[in-house]
Amino acid sequence: MAKTDIGPPDYKTMLPPVIARNYGKWRYHEIPQPGVLVHTADSGEKLYSVRAGSPRLVSTDHIREICAIAEKYCDGYLRFTSRHNIEFLLADKDKVAPLLAELESKGYPVGGTGHAISNVVHTQGWVHCHTPATDASGPVKALMDEIYDYFTTMKLPNHVRIALACCLNMCGAVHCSDIAILGIHRTVPKVDNTRVPNVCEIPSTVASCPTGAIRGDMKNKTVTVNDEKCMYCGNCYTVCPAMPLADPDNDGISIWVGGKVSNARSAPSFSKLAIPFLPNNPPRWPEVVDAVKNIIEVYASHARKHERVGEWIERVGWERFFSLTGIPFTDKHIDDFDMATESFHSSTLFKWS
């Protein structure tokens, strides 16, 4: 009989000795070059962290290669970041340059620190999810190839956090990202009346709809969908597998901007809709890559130092965001869900764009 409820390995057994000795006694840090953090403790000891990009979807052989590198330079100590980067943790300054050289020779991007674009937090997509409206790893790979230099340098006004979720369930903090890439469906679920009675519970299916578009049809032990009220969130499909809504011709991606989670300067905020729809165009999603790159470049050339994307947009105004980026404003940008009116302009204080 297997042991149960042993919990995760104790993190204290995973800490490099330099961290164990200086735990909670770090004094300050510096970023001498992109991808390298130097933390200095009260004791004067220093910890060198070298941050490298990862595709997040990694094979055991790849993990073993990372382990071998960590064993060669870091006495076998490493960590991963909340944005899926790998961090090699070194106590010996002399090993930093050889580590960087080996990472470069093996094709690991080093960066993601300071005013950079770090790794894209993303979901499973077509690789392993049952509700995706797009793939996750593919668009991220195509995008990161294109904006690679923003990962390995620190030349932006502030850091730009990008996240991708392949449907509205959002397994990731995409709703508070500087730039969010969100997979969306655009057609109503197709109710399979022969399967609903067997695989779905009608009350929970009805309750799953945020807009009240689903009604129970008790006589036929199924449900009906009011097409005009449905905004294709797919939540009904999550509870009732007999209501699929994936549609290769109409699924795609929307782009959201200006969210953040940190409290620095301005309050944490949601991302807002920038582009309602871009097509799924695998394998490299050129429309999505171009759209995100355009937003980054307009931000980079217009924002003031230390302004996050949302802070820049708030300062110049959303009217100016749309004119500067050339993104068309449509009726889809105007909220019509719960609390929609809070986002309407109730003053004459707007710009001519």
Partner: protein, 396 residues
């Protein structure tokens, strides 16, 4: 070389960013499940649609969570991923690893699964992508033998996560790693045996920079903060100025409360006006240190859009001291979960329940006082409820 032709995915091997396709092909060379996964993904790229069915219920003995069932909708073409279940493995807090522990995880997964992983999933777990129903229990047995356990899934406490905290960061106001690990160990039962109305996420950040996005993603967010004056090393401030940092423009002018003054020699902070946003400290970590009394702000209710729209967490305890064994914190978590468990509807997150029943009802139920730090401003509508004891009873 992988045997299947994958002309579309091959195009994602190009470019400088590390390619997941390369990793999939690496795994496919020695694992038929990974090879069929590659084939099915190529088909998705061709068809522009996912090919996974709804998950069935699979798991390990004694647990109701930690394994996500997954089945291919084209088992005729890809028999080796007919069943391809995910196992969520609770990561070591802070995602710290010693390589021998990481190698043990790889060995278990090569023995039982596809050899493909996510390091890590969005909630924080190490995700083991794809194994057959037969292998779930033996894989779990080997995982526990290797020192690992499963994380949460379904209507359970999800794997708690924490920022790097005092392990490396000078800004950690609380021991985010220890708090997270303590909570994880205390609530193993709540993680492994789903008994809640819906998922419940706890995340711990050491400071208001909130590197684990707790405010956006956690039903229960712990964010380190401080009381007392920001400690200034004037010499180091001058050194930053000398090194090219424009203290007036980049620090004082961007301070949201305009509580800082710089005369070219000395930096002054009106700490009473400071809202502890971290901007100045982020820019001058050598010169500025947070105030000496450390604790955390507790916020609750954060979530992604499903069902009634996304929410950012709300302040419910402005300041709580957090020292082991964290009794006050755990007591609050229990009171909140009990209330939610009692009144929450199926698939109703904590924030949505509070929206439905009202914050005043919630506060009274869990025994928290109303304080001005909870709101940006008092209400503007006159639709005010009073409690029965607020009203004078008519004496006849």
């Amino acid at each position: 070389m992988a045997k299947r032709e994958t002309p579309l995915l091959d195009q994602l091997e190009r470019g400088k960013w590390p390619s997941f396709v390369k990793d999939m092909k690496e795994a496919a060379e020695k694992n038929p499940m990974a090879e069929d996964l590659l084939g099915q993904l190529e088909l998705s790229y061709k068809d522009k649609i996912g090919h996974w069915k709804h998950g069935g219920i699979v798991g390990v003995k004694g647990y109701g969570s930690g394994v996500i069932g997954r089945y291919s909708d084209r088992p005729d073409l890809f028999p080796n991923v007919q069943a391809f279940h995910t196992m969520r493995v609770n990561h070591p807090t802070g995602w710290f690893y010693k390589t021998d522990a990481l190698r043990r995880l790889c060995d278990v997964w090569d023995k039982h699964g596809s050899g493909l992983t996510n390091m890590h999933g969005s909630t924080g777990d190490a995700i083991l992508l794809g194994t057959t129903t037969d292998h779930i229990q033996p894989c779990f047995d080997d995982l526990t033998e290797a020192g690992y356990d499963l994380g949460g899934s379904g209507s359970a406490l999800r794997t708690p996560s924490a920022c790097v905290g005092p392990g490396r960061c000078e800004w950690a106001c609380v021991d985010s790693l220890d708090i997270c690990y303590d909570i994880t160990m205390t609530y193993q039962d709540k993680m492994h045996r789903p008994m809640f109305p819906y998922k419940f996420k706890i995340k711990v950040s050491g400071c208001p920079n909130d590197c684990v996005a707790s405010i956006a993603r956690a039903d229960f967010a712990v964010i380190g903060t401080w009381k007392g004056d920001i400690r200034i090393d004037q010499g180091e401030v001058e050194a930053y100025a000398a090194s090219g940092l424009d203290i007036q423009k980049e620090v004082c002018d961007l301070c949201p409360t305009k509580c800082m003054e710089w005369d070219g020699k000395r930096l002054k902070i009106d700490n009473g006006d400071c809202t502890r946003c971290m901007h100045c400290i982020n820019l001058m970590s050598k010169a500025l240190r947070q105030g000496g009394e450390r604790g955390a702000t507790i916020l609750i209710g954060g979530k992604a859009p499903i069902l009634q729209g996304a929410l950012l967490s709300w302040v419910i305890v402005p300041f709580m001291k957090l020292e082991p064994p964290y009794e006050e914190l755990k007591d609050l978590i229990l009171r909140i979960q009990d209330w939610w468990d009692e009144y929450g509807k199926s698939r109703e997150r904590l924030g949505e329940l509070i929206k439905r029943l009202g914050m005043r009802v919630f506060l009274r139920a869990v025994g928290l006082p109303a304080v001005p730090q909870m709101v940006k401003a008092p209400r503007t509508n006159p639709y005010v409820f009073f409690w029965p004891e607020d009203i004078k009873k008519e004496v006849k």
